[in-house]
Symmetry: C2
Subunit: 309 residues, 2 copies
């Protein structure tokens, strides 16, 4: 599982940062979160395959998070997409898309399956993972998204099975699938030859938002939390008023949620350097990084080692 | 007068080219022509002052020419604009802007004065220049825009005036303003001390369009013609079908219109190098350049020398 930060600015783009957008790639499939202006350009720069996009998730209907959507949808048409694209976002997103489609008359060969979300719930449930929403604390209805893998089956130990007199073949498979078998009159349970379930990975994207208890609970034990870190401590008043977090506030959420890593995003255009934001956050939560445009982050399983950027 | 090419790609952005947009700067004031996605980012990169934008002119309502408009309008709000912004474009542009304003609820402190154009006419007439439209030959209603300076008064020769017995002062000013005066019973006409009117500059922007007689007439004797040069000669069929020009076709227009310089824009994403386009155009019209993103071109008066890029 990899995260591609496409745009890491907040509200106003800068020479170095485009408007909010990121992609989670899992088993080759791509999931787009927010679609600020120039997202299509950042996708081209990142080299991600247009054919692999499965769904789009919009946090809220502020312009900086959504004005790249028409261009992205048109780019998929240019790339000859025919399979459906799933689009999730707060109420109003369908009106936004259909209004643009109508007024600039853009042609869309593929089906857009648009779902307006009003509540906290699981919005996509696949065999190996699900995507869930929670309310952010912003000035308009805003959703945080969690990308959560189901636990994988435990590791199978063929040596242990052989010691118990089981031959490789269908019985191996049954045990791996969690079935109890009988061999030579002996009952063998999967637990005897299969390790405990291995936890899946969890990535949470929460912007725009003030630090909130709700997001702490929603991010519990996440491998990665990507959180609004728009301002430095000096701008706390601005952050509260505008519905954003300071770097420190984001770090408090990460610490309370016991996440493994925190990435700050939605960085205000006023910061030419993010050194201060990083320092303020790391005092509270050392495993903090400030995301940058086209940054790529691998999310390892907790039973595997290391990551790469 | 300077031209800033902000985006020079057609339909699809590339690693090097953003979607269509350019600025004409005259006496410090800025006029934006087309507003493809990421125009606001290109404006930031170009260092142009947001406070100096006077008006926006949209050629047509295809997405690649207009999806940057919401972001640009929001950027002006962020820059605390209060003076009106004039926006011109084909019918439907008001619906586009108002639909986005409504669906994403963006706040606009300043007034947007939107005028939908249906005919060829002078749409803006200022003291020193005017802006006029003409029909392009595209697949939807598309306007070419000409930015035309009125002739400036001829050069005043104070020595000649003194020889005729006129003293520096109010009489000088009258002659410079084209008034006939009487000095010591002698009638002095402005023509005796002022050179012929000096021609203003003319810049024409014509994309998206097939080569057309109408644009030839509209571009007559322009200092600069910026023309759709999307395809090479090999793709002539595509150009005709999609309502675009080959580089050669654009050069034919430039030659027939007797313009001074031609800049090709709206370059197809299929060309990694534009060498071929340049060669094909220069065979017909040597004073051709292929525009590139953030290219800046000065347009000198015809009685002045040189230009700079």
């Amino acid at each position: 599982m990899d995260i591609f930060f496409l745009g890491t600015s907040g509200s106003i783009p800068t020479l170095k940062r485009n408007l909010p957008s990121l992609v989670i790639r899992r088993e080759g499939e791509l999931y787009l979160f927010d679609c600020g202006e120039a997202t299509q350009i950042q996708i081209i720069k990142s080299g991600l395959s247009l054919a692999k996009f499965e769904a789009v998730f919009i946090t809220h209907l502020h312009g900086d998070h959504i004005t790249g959507l028409p261009g992205f949808l048109m780019l998929l048409t240019q790339a000859n997409r025919t399979k459906p694209l799933y689009i999730f976002g707060p109420p109003g997103i369908e009106d936004f898309i259909q209004s643009i489609k109508r007024t600039i008359n853009f042609y869309c060969e593929y089906e857009m399956v648009i779902e307006e979300i009003e509540q906290e719930k699981v919005i996509l449930d696949k065999k190996e993972f699900y995507i869930e929403t929670a309310f952010c604390d912003h000035n308009v209805l805003t959703f945080s998204y969690a990308f959560v893998e189901y636990d994988r089956p435990g590791k199978f130990y063929p040596e242990k099975a052989k010691e118990l007199g089981i031959c490789p073949g269908p019985n191996f498979k049954k045990l791996q699938n969690g079935e109890t078998i009988t061999v030579n009159g002996k009952i063998i349970t999967p637990e005897q030859v299969v390790g405990p379930p291995r936890p899946g990975r969890k990535v949470v994207y929460a912007t725009d938002t003030r630090p909130s208890e709700n997001i702490v609970n929603f991010s519990k034990d996440a491998d990665v939390l990507i959180h609004d870190g728009m301002f430095s401590a000096e701008e706390l008043k601005d952050a509260i008023e505008k519905g954003h977090s300071t770097a420190e506030g984001a770090a408090e959420v990460a610490k309370a949620a016991n996440v493994k890593k925190l990435f700050l995003t939605h960085i205000s255009s006023r910061y030419f350097s993010t050194k201060l934001l990083k320092q303020e956050a790391q005092k509270v939560f050392p495993a903090t990084k400030v995301a940058y445009d086209l940054m790529q982050v691998s999310v390892p399983f907790s039973d595997q080692e290391g990551d790469s950027e």
